[in-house]
């Protein structure tokens, strides 16, 4: 079992957002969750990522139950890819040691190689925090490269494809494909059509999950 959520409750300041969520995902499953904006999708993902502690119920990810341990098992690509104001290299490695060879391997998988080699400073080019110096699609692919580099068994995607325009989406989709292949994935979106590759889709509504 890759992900096990049982009767999970979560509230912000006593306002419940998730009311008794249960979810099971086996290794390699691709789960989609759809729901209107504000229904609690990002909150659920943060719990699955070990960023929040469940207030009641169980969250188990790849055998880990404590948030600190859960975080080791997941990689996450967020809605508006937040980059560090640092080099592309540092954004991908997050300061962890990594061989030049695997770094380029990661860039290749994230569809970044062509763009990076066209830059005067290459992989050491400085990027702004909100991707100030890069396009949305490039920032997204750097965030995906970061996730690929972590090589975690569970991948969490928060609206990873919702904000893409047609021109850049194919490269991002190819990058996402490389990231998610043969891993357990929870993909969250407010648009049903972006979840077409998922094996199972749920709707989050009123703090509960309904299988579609």
């Amino acid at each position: 079992m890759s992900i096990r959520v049982e009767n999970l409750w979560f509230a912000y300041n006593n306002v419940p957002v998730l009311r008794g969520i249960s979810l099971i995902a086996g290794a390699g499953d691709h789960i989609g969750i759809v729901g209107v904006s504000g229904c609690g999708k990002s909150t659920l993902l943060k719990l699955l990522a070990g960023l929040y502690q469940a207030q009641s119920g169980v969250v188990e990810v790849h055998g880990a139950c404590m948030p600190d341990d859960i975080r080791k098992n997941v990689a996450m690509v967020m809605q508006n890819a937040a980059l560090f104001p640092a080099s592309i290299r540092d954004n991908i490695t997050c300061g962890h040691p990594m061989s030049e060879e695997s770094l380029w391997h990661v860039c290749e998988a994230a569809q970044l190689t062509e763009w990076i080699t066209s830059l005067p400073d290459g992989i050491d080019t400085f990027v702004g925090e909100r991707g100030g110096k890069v396009s949305g699609g490039q920032a997204q692919r750097i965030a995906i490269a970061r996730a690929i580099a972590k090589n975690a068994p569970v991948i969490l995607l928060d609206e990873a494809t919702s904000a893409l325009d047609d021109g850049t989406s194919s490269a991002v989709l190819a990058a996402l494909d490389n990231l998610t292949r043969s891993r357990t994935v929870v993909n969250v979106s407010h648009r049903h059509e972006t979840l077409s590759g998922c094996s199972r889709i749920y709707r989050l509504d009123g703090g509960r999950l309904y299988e579609l």
Binding site: M76, P85, C94, G95, E129, R146
Partner: protein, 322 residues
Amino acid sequence: MMRGLKKLFDITGMFRRFVILTLLRLPFDPFYNIIHALFLKHAFDAVNDTDKSALATACALFGVGSILLFLNNGTVWTIYSAFVARWTAALRRKLFRHISSLSLKQMEERTAGEWITRLNADLRAAAAVLDQPIHLPHAAVSLANICVSSIILASASPMMFGLVILFAAPHLLISQLAVVRPMTRLAADVQEAMAENASDMDTVIACADTALVYDAQGFLLERFEKSSLNVMRKSMRLHRRRALGNGLIPLMGISGYLAMLLAGGSRIAGGAMAFGSLIAVLQYRVGFLKSLNMFLNSMTNIKTAMAGVKRVCETMSIVPEE
């Protein structure tokens, strides 16, 4: 420097009011210096002649003159403080309006930390032109006093004036070259380092979730510490320069004083000068040097503030798109 100040007042307006307040403040130092010297001269002459009533008159006139001067000075400074508060608020408002009128694309070209620094630290640094303890009006006031003291000294005793200049000139030269001139550059380095540091601090907070998932907090904190250290190093360079300027004062001051005492003493012994006149000349010298130091300090401070002024003007000169 003048161009930067003009630009700053173009942004804020209120230049006329500033000039009027400075002009009102201008006579204080020369008048005080003259009153002080005249008092010393007449008091010592009276003591010399054992004329009690002349001494009493000198004391009374000095007392009344000082009270009137300080009254004028206090009133002007009070109005000035209120003016500076309004002026700084106007500058902040203009700066904020301008930054918020920029397009998203222009906003995104710089980090949040950079913008926060432009709104806060840069503004504070620029406002220092008018609101730190020694600032632009002080430069004007001390310059006025330097001129008045020089004229009086030169006509009272050209030889003594020559001595004052002889000992003040090296101080002026060294301060100008080693302290005043590099200040803007050193301060600009500090502002830049602060912007980078603010951006690193902002990242630790804004990217907290990403940092947690990717175990990058250590990496981000290390960056923050590095840029904090850089701010400290850059600030230390600036403060060491300022300290150098202050260290020069006693050295030049005491040797000049001794030279004048020796020259004056021999003239008094030769009957060419009254004791009261020597005391008065020494007082004009004190006024001259005090103003020279104040002038150098104001120039150091203004030059430091110019780094902020430049950055504020640069921010204001970004042309909003669309």
